[in-house]
Symmetry: C2
């Protein structure tokens, strides 16, 4: 039996399938850079069908669970419109198959219910991740540093229990920090950077992204740099350096590689501060939780480091437990797990205990 | 006789002509939103020729002076490449006509010299403005708040004399603040905004621009909103409000018009702080200069306000002296004036005294 999870993001869409056979359980994931604001409405169902074909190889999945954050994209005038388009696209790509939608309390709604209660399913991918992590750690705070955003969510008794439910509430509560490993404009993180002993203002153009910063610092590999570059040029270190130089209105003929690395280092430290501040805020409401779970592309150099800076010693990596792909596509894997539990009698705990290194 | 000035920017290209006839002196300006990073190399000479046709109506200009900032655009890998492309485009559009290029000390170079000394002419539009203002006020600081950036330049004895010459040096010295009236991403100005009694983090996406902020606050009119909107929708107040709401990951069904206006007000105040800080830095090096000249689209609500906040009382508006268009296209008008002075015996002072309300 095949159970599918989808996490339809604004810039990246992630999918996972859990294949339950008498011989065992297998999990596969897929991810595609798909910036919805550059696409026509027709392309989303096509993308979803493509991911279905890729992961299910012609076999019809028994159930699909969906999480989404794409509704925030300015491709849509309102979240209502965005939620409805995502749901219609899923229905089209999975015609005749049971579809459920994860809401902000990690419950599954059917599609009609989800359309009516669209604010509950808008931006609700973190509840799926929280639900899954809650199967392994009853009480913890998980930090999921993705390509674009960071979720910092407390889990109690196995259930995600943030103060905020909507994006706005979570931006206020520190549970959502709009900073990520790849797509964040450097100018959204720093207003000045060190340069030859002085502090230099930065350009407010989209000249350099965090992907450039983390690439030149060796935090990510070229293969992790999955978004478009700011200038349309290569994802290699040379071009990343040139983009970072441009953030202070310079070029590589004007400032040195060492200057650029110092700028990158500063941006990284300021981004780390953003995550630390969010974690401080969340942790101050949950002083008894002493365990942090790191998730996502930025597990090691942002999530773990932030937890260490705040004195946490019980830090566990989802990547170490479930593998890199499960960590980087956690909401999709979690949604697939919810679909499996919904349709079978198999405990999610049991599946997770069988799954290592997806 | 016709003298033309060009200010080739990254996002906007501005042009001016000074028409000297026995009957008097006439000045005309033109401006086109032309984001070079979205255009092919072929289009810049075509744009320049279009502006020439528009302003010169078939008459061949006697001389053209050029300033540029477009070379910083990531359409070009290096400034050298950008300067050369701008100069080739000008030569093509003004074939057979004398072309001079303004450098960072407000001197005119011929095109070959400018190519060799490309770092002197890169981003050197403020020297032209400073030179022109120096004809009216010998000692002052001028603040030119444009669509994208703000120049804060001291003038002494009629000559611009900033500490920095290149963009990098000027970002360090406070003489260039990368903030503007239209194109600046709200997330480059604020990291948190007030919302219903709490502080809310903002998205780092390009969801809302300063044009949205200044439009809803009544600082600019729809006709001043000349750049593209972040979401491709209308430039009216309703859509600007929706974009500002999206900056805190909300939509207009979720937060009120009053919430949005409070956010806009906060962004404005933080942007004003950026200009104030630049002016403080420049003024602290020039404590004897007590006169501020305001220039550009943001004259009233940013430049003047910043000067007032720092206690300046001698504040003069270029718009009041030379008219709105001259203020908003000051480097192009100044370059045309330099061309006129270069080729005739007419003093720039005399022309400026004749020109009121371009």
């Amino acid at each position: 039996m095949l159970f599918m999870g989808l996490d339809v993001g604004g810039a990246n869409t992630k999918a996972a399938v859990i294949d339950v056979t008498p011989g065992g359980i297998e999990v596969k994931t897929a991810r595609e850079y798909f910036p919805v604001w550059t696409k026509s409405r027709r392309e989303l169902p096509e993308l979803l069908f493509r991911m279905r074909s890729l992961l299910c190889s012609g076999v019809e999945p028994d159930c699909v669970c969906v999480t989404m954050t794409a509704e925030l994209s300015d491709a849509y005038e309102t979240k209502r419109e965005g939620v409805n388009h995502v749901l219609s696209s899923v229905e089209e790509a999975f015609s005749g198959i049971d579809v459920y939608v994860v809401n902000c309390t990690a419950k599954l709604l059917d599609v009609d219910e989800a359309r009516r209660r669209y604010m509950e399913v808008a931006a609700a991918n973190w509840p799926a991740t929280g639900w899954m992590i809650g199967k392994i750690f009853k009480d913890c705070i998980f930090i999921d540093v993705g390509s674009t955003t960071t979720d910092i969510i407390p889990v109690r008794g196995g259930v995600p229990c943030p103060e905020g439910k909507s994006d706005v509430e979570r931006l206020i509560s520190g549970e959502l920090v709009f900073t990520g490993v790849l797509r964040t404009n450097v100018s959204a993180i720093v207003s000045k950077v060190p340069l030859r002993g002085r502090m230099c203002r930065v350009s407010s153009e989209k000249f350099a992204l965090t992907a450039d910063v983390h690439l030149v610092l060796g935090h990510i590999l070229e293969e992790d740099y999955t978004c478009e570059t700011a200038d349309g040029r290569g994802r290699d270190a040379y071009h990343s350096m040139a983009r970072i130089a441009r953030a202070v209105c310079a070029d590589v003929e004007e400032i040195s590689q060492d200057d650029v690395l110092k700028i990158a280092r500063h941006v990284y430290l300021k981004q780390l501060e953003q995550v630390v501040e969010g974690l401080e805020q969340v942790s101050s409401r949950n002083p008894d939780i002493d365990t942090v779970i790191t998730v996502g592309l930025g597990e090691d150099f942002l999530a773990k480091r932030a937890a260490e800076n705040l004195g946490f010693t019980r830090i566990h990596s989802l990547k170490s437990m479930l593998g890199k792909k499960a960590s980087e596509n956690a909401p999709a894997v979690a949604a697939a797990l919810m679909a499996t539990e919904k349709k079978t009698r198999i405990d999610a705990e049991k599946i997770l205990s069988e799954v290592r290194g997806i």
